[in-house]
Symmetry: D5
Subunit: 96 residues, 10 copies
């Protein structure tokens, strides 16, 4: 099941740079794990923002919630979730 998740990241001025770097590395590792599993299907940067637009493919709302809440950068993120579904005109099986 598909969801668009728009994530804005806001790390406060003066936050310890080393801790920030560790969180970002952990976030990247977790992201790639989920990408390889096919759960985090797409991610794009929003130009000029520390933000992304992502597409998730999950078996249930609960699983999506658990994934998002456990992201390393979650405490610094504002999220907006939109439920999507396959468009009937699409020729790609992939855009399920």
């Amino acid at each position: 099941m598909l969801f668009m998740v728009e994530m804005d990241v806001n790390i406060p001025l003066g936050f310890d740079p080393e801790e920030a770097a560790q969180l970002k590395a952990a976030e990247k590792a977790r992201f790639q794990e989920l990408q390889q599993a096919g759960t985090w299907r797409h991610i794009w940067r929003v130009v000029g923002q520390y933000a992304n637009v992502s597409i998730f493919d999950v078996p249930s709302n609960t699983e999506l919630h658990d994934i998002l809440m456990s992201l390393p950068l979650y405490p610094f993120m504002t999220m907006h979730v939109t439920a999507l579904c396959r468009h009937p005109s699409s020729l790609h099986d992939d855009d399920r």
Copy 2:
């Protein structure tokens, strides 16, 4: 170059159903042409709305503008365009 385009369709109550059906068929044909060309890379329905979230891959802003303005349903659409770019963490070459 990647852009997210969010399209809301609003065909007024009492609009001629036959004309609406023709416009939708023309829209679908144009969409599939652009999808096969790799220009309209993704499309998803927004649950509960006559609306979609789409990802375009175009050589320039001008080309995107010309594509959007000439869509058969354009006069009935409200559009919101967001410039995107490849996310450095992505493992997929495809999310360029």
Copy 3:
């Protein structure tokens, strides 16, 4: 899977009252069918509005979309969909 759907109904001034009555009767029949099936789990009126707050329990986003788009009053509704999930503190199995 649970979703909150907030529905506002706006039938234009001067709309044929008989046609409106037929649409409302069809909406009520469809609602009760879905309520008995356990799909439309809850519905409440919003005080002072021709509007409701509803909870749906569906197997997928696509099924929710198809249900909402085919409601008899859909062309007169503005909808807002929010993905929900079971709260871990809840003592009721029912609030799944």
Copy 4:
């Protein structure tokens, strides 16, 4: 009498984790007490947010106010209250 209460929780970065854990435990205990009393009829998590949608059944506005203001996490919450009432089409006596 029914009310929807939408609660967003925002515990600041750097808040003492032990105190936070105690507040959350107290909140959970209070919630379950109210749920068993039939006052806090429903609670659902909002996907991707530290937030919930709740339905309260109370004898008066004043009682609802007193309950909400005395929640252990109240100082960290933003609340939005919507007065609801039974929908005439509902087949369930329960959705009073």
Copy 5:
């Protein structure tokens, strides 16, 4: 139980003036009936607007809903309902 109801009235340009006058007279009669019953406790005009701020005292949400929906000018009104309760500092029993 107390509620603030903010009502904005918008009668479209070109609406039959005689029908408008009848609706306003019926609205005034209904208002005074409810005012005398102590249900519609207060009403004030908003300066520069065809709008009012009102305070209702009703036994239940449902009764408020039924009163508001059956006002003669309801189809021309936008309403915003806010649940209130007695303020503990008030010296007036009347501001219950």
Copy 6:
């Protein structure tokens, strides 16, 4: 002359509780003084908020401004002022 004033109070987390208690006591005393003088005609709590809706009866805008700016809790309040006037349909001389 009548005005509605909507006041939201926001005392920051970690503010000295004793100082807060003193400010609240001073606010209550000032409120009751103004209520007895007939200046602060009504006050109601907004359910679920540390907020109130109030009606003031003052001889001039300037007097209202001076009263509001000198409230003990003013530095912690967000205020919204709406000019009101007597509604011609009202049967109560009191709703002047």
Copy 7:
């Protein structure tokens, strides 16, 4: 007593030009009458808008309401009223 009133005028496309010209002439005459009386103290156009920012000096809220509601162009206007008062730093008696 001083008030800022922001007025936006919106005469619909296709409205009879002669009737519009009559309404504008009546509005101008009424404005100049009020300006000479010292009631409508200032008026300025907002650049690029069919809109103005005005300052009224009136003895009461009710008088302001009656003046605004009886303007010839009132049915085509959206108004926003803000209560003002003399600024203590002003050297001009005129900015009362």
Copy 8:
């Protein structure tokens, strides 16, 4: 050339009162200098707010910008600038 400038002042809780008093005195002095020069033509307090509505008469946008940015309280202000012009109906040469 005329501009409306709406200024909201927000001095944080706990800011040194002596420094605040000095800034306010400097602001008042600068204001009166500009008022006497005819540049800051009008100022009014907004009732219930630490805010003002002002009218400036300046030879150019740049001069207005330089004046506003160098106000002693500028770092504590949020400003909204609206370009105005003389209203053709005005009888006062003064409302140029």
Copy 9:
């Protein structure tokens, strides 16, 4: 003196196409006249919208107002005007 003007054009569905074409031709002619005069310094299309972002260079607010209000498409436009000034860091005399 420089101003940014953001213009959104909205010609209603069903508007006579011939009249629309005449208005657009008149708008284009007027635009080019003002562009050659150096008054309408820049114009850009907003991607996906029937809208533009423009930069005007005018001797006064009044002249800008008169130019905008007399544009052939003005009755179909929503405008937003922002006063600009030369940026001190700019190396181009042209960005005055």
Copy 10:
């Protein structure tokens, strides 16, 4: 390819003035470098704000993103990016 970027700068009260001066000097140097390269085609100050409206000409979305994210003042900026394209009516080759 053209983009409008609206930048608001917000340096917190109490930020070290020397560090701020260094950041501003670095920002100015970087800006002038990009202006000379033809990338940062235009910049204007917004009157009364520590903000600018800028026009960028870049080969791709990604390049724009990299430029914006690496600006010395980026951590203090809020940005809004709008994709633009050449207007067909423009007589200037320069407004490409």
